[in-house]
Symmetry: C2
Subunit: 309 residues, 2 copies
C-alpha cells in the first residue's frame, strides 16, 4: 500500500480505508469522500449524460451514507474531450436534481480536457460524537442489508433473460443507471449499528472488509439475501447466482446490529419505507462462510469487483 | 456557465469562481479547492512521477495560498492505466515530501483504471474572519506579484535559447517541474491585501479576473514584471515577451495592496525571503492597460491559458 496516513494527525479520526475520512474542524466533525467514474471502465462509452450526472454524485452519497453523515458540500472535477453543451447541460441537470434533493451545494470544481473522467468529492457533517465505521462489528451481531441486492448485476449480466419480465427489467435498469444512496438510513444507523459499509464492490467483498477490519467471521444465508424473484430464472445455478450477488453496484448499506436495536431501527426505517433484511450473524471464526439451500457453499476466489483486474 | 451555486447556502461564503470555496463548519471556516492534471494536456506523456506527485499537490496548495488559508487535509483521486509499482512509489514520494513539508495529511482517495489523470482535493483552515478573494481590489491599490514570472514559459517555449544559460535553465526547469506554492506568503496577505489570485493561467488573464470580479481597471508596467535577466535573450521582441508572460504555470501570487500596508508586508515577507514587486496600479477605467518601454502595448486577444482551446 503506497498511500499512508501521516503518523500524527490529531484532527483525523478515521484515515484511508473506510468509506470516508473523518476530520475534526473546530467543534464539528466532517466526513469526506471522493469517487471517480471513468468512461469505458465504470460506464460505457456514450452513456446517458443525465444518468451520469446523477450517478457520479450518488456513488459519493452512498459512501457518506455508510458513515452515517449528512451530505452538505460537493466539488466536481470534470475531465472531458471537448465542451459539448448539450451533454454538459444534461449532465448538470442530473447532478443538480440529486444534489438539490439532498440539499447538497456544489461549491467548486475544475474542468479539464482529456478522456471523460468524473471525480466528485463530497463533504458531510456528523451529528453525533460517533461515525459508522467498519471495524466495530462484534460476535453475535446480526448482519443486515437495506433494500435489494443484485438488481444492477441482473441488468448488466443477464439482460437477455430479465427482459422477459418488463417491470423488473425497468426497475433494475433504473437502479443501475440512477442508484439511490441510503442517506437517511445511514444517519439512523449511526446511532445503532456497530459497523456499516456501502455495497459497491459486491456484497461478499464488502462484507469481508467489515470482517477483516473487525477481526471477526460471519455465517451468511444466501437464500436470505433480498433480491427480485426473477433472479431464479436469470440465475438457475448456484454459480450464476453467486456471479450476480458479487457483481456489486448495489449502493445498499450492509451493517451489523445488536438484537436489542432491531425494533428501534425497524420503527425508524418505516418512515423511509426502505426494508432491511437479516442475512446472517457475526461469529468469532474470522472466516466468511455461506450457506445455500441448507448446504455450505464453496466461495469463488474472487469475491467481488477489483479495481485493477 | 453550467455550474451554479445553490441559491441559499448560509454556510457558503464564497462559491464557484474564486480560487477556492469557503464553507463554515461549526465555529471554523474552511477553504476547499480541487485541481486536475491530465497526461498529454497538463503534463507530457512519460513525465517524471516524482515531479508529478509534487506538482499535483503544489497546484492545489497554490489555490489555497491565494485564499490565505493554511492547508490541512488532502484527498487524492488517481486514475492510472495500470498499477506500475515503481511509478507509484515515486509519485507518492513526491506527493508526501511536499505534504509533510506543509503538514498536510492525506485522508482519503480513490484509485481507478483509465487514462492517467490526477485530481487532488485540498482543504485548509482560515485563521482570521476573512479570506483573500478576487472581488475586493480598489482604485488606487498597488498591484504586486511574489517571486518571478515566466520561468516556466521560458523552459516550455524558449528552451533552445535558455539552455545557453545553464544555471537559469536549471532554475527555470525546477520551477516548471516542482513549483513552489506561496503558502506562508498567502497567510500573511490574508491580513493586508484587498484581493489576490494565484497565477496559473498567465499573469494578464489572472489579473483580468481580479479586475472583472472587482469591477475596476489597471495599468501595468511590463518592464516592472520580475523575470530572469535572460528573458531579453529568449524574447527579443515584445511579441515573444508577451508570449512568455501570458504562458502561465507561475504559481506566484498576484495581489492588490493599499500603500499603507507596504511596509508591514515587506517586513513579514523578509522571513520567507520571497520578494514581491509592484507592477502597476488599480484604476477606475474597467480596462486593463499595459505599457512597455514607456509606450502603450496592444494586448493579444488571448490573454492566457484557456482550458478548452
Amino acid at each position: 500500500r503506497y498511500f499512508r496516513r501521516s503518523k500524527d494527525c490529531p484532527d483525523l479520526d478515521l484515515g484511508i480505508g473506510d468509506d470516508a475520512a473523518v476530520i475534526r474542524s473546530g467543534n464539528e466533525r466532517l466526513a469526506i469522500t471522493t469517487d471517480t467514474l471513468v468512461e469505458g471502465v465504470h460506464f460505457e462509452v456514450g452513456s446517458d449524460a443525465h444518468c451520469l450526472g446523477h450517478k457520479a454524485l450518488a456513488v459519493n452519497l452512498s459512501d457518506l451514507a455508510a458513515m452515517g453523515a449528512e451530505p452538505r458540500w460537493a466539488l466536481l472535477a470534470l475531465t472531458m474531450p471537448s465542451v459539448d453543451t448539450n451533454w454538459l447541460a444534461a449532465f448538470c441537470d442530473g447532478f443538480f436534481r440529486l444534489a438539490d434533493y439532498h440539499k447538497v451545494d456544489l461549491i467548486g470544481g475544475d474542468t479539464t480536457r482529456g478522456a471523460l473522467t468524473i471525480t466528485v468529492q463530497l463533504i458531510g457533517t456528523l451529528a453525533e460524537d460517533r461515525a459508522l465505521c467498519r471495524h466495530n462489528a462484534q460476535v453475535g451481531d446480526g448482519i443486515y442489508v437495506t433494500g435489494r441486492i443484485a438488481d444492477s448485476a441482473l441488468v448488466a449480466l443477464f439482460a437477455d433473460t430479465l427482459k422477459a419480465y418488463k417491470q423488473s427489467y425497468e426497475q433494475c435498469t433504473a437502479r443501475l443507471m440512477r442508484p439511490t444512496a441510503r442517506v437517511a438510513e445511514g444517519i439512523i444507523l449511526a446511532r445503532y449499528a456497530t459497523a456499516a459499509i456501502d455495497i459497491s464492490d459486491g456484497i461478499l467483498k464488502d462484507l469481508s472488509r467489515i470482517l477483516s477490519a473487525s477481526d471477526v467471521g460471519a455465517e451468511i444465508e444466501i437464500d436470505d439475501i433480498p433480491t427480485i424473484p426473477e433472479i431464479k430464472q436469470c440465475c438457475p445455478t448456484l454459480e450464476l447466482l453467486l456471479k450476480a450477488l458479487i457483481y456489486g453496484e448495489d449502493y445498499e448499506l450492509l451493517f451489523t446490529l445488536k438484537d436489542e436495536y432491531i425494533a428501534v431501527v425497524k420503527q425508524a426505517y418505516a418512515a423511509s419505507a426502505t426494508p432491511f433484511t437479516r442475512i446472517g450473524t457475526i461469529d468469532e471464526t474470522r472466516v466468511l462462510k455461506c450457506r445455500w439451500q441448507s448446504k455450505p457453499v464453496v466461495l469463488p476466489e474472487r469475491l467481488g469487483y477489483d479495481h485493477f483486474t
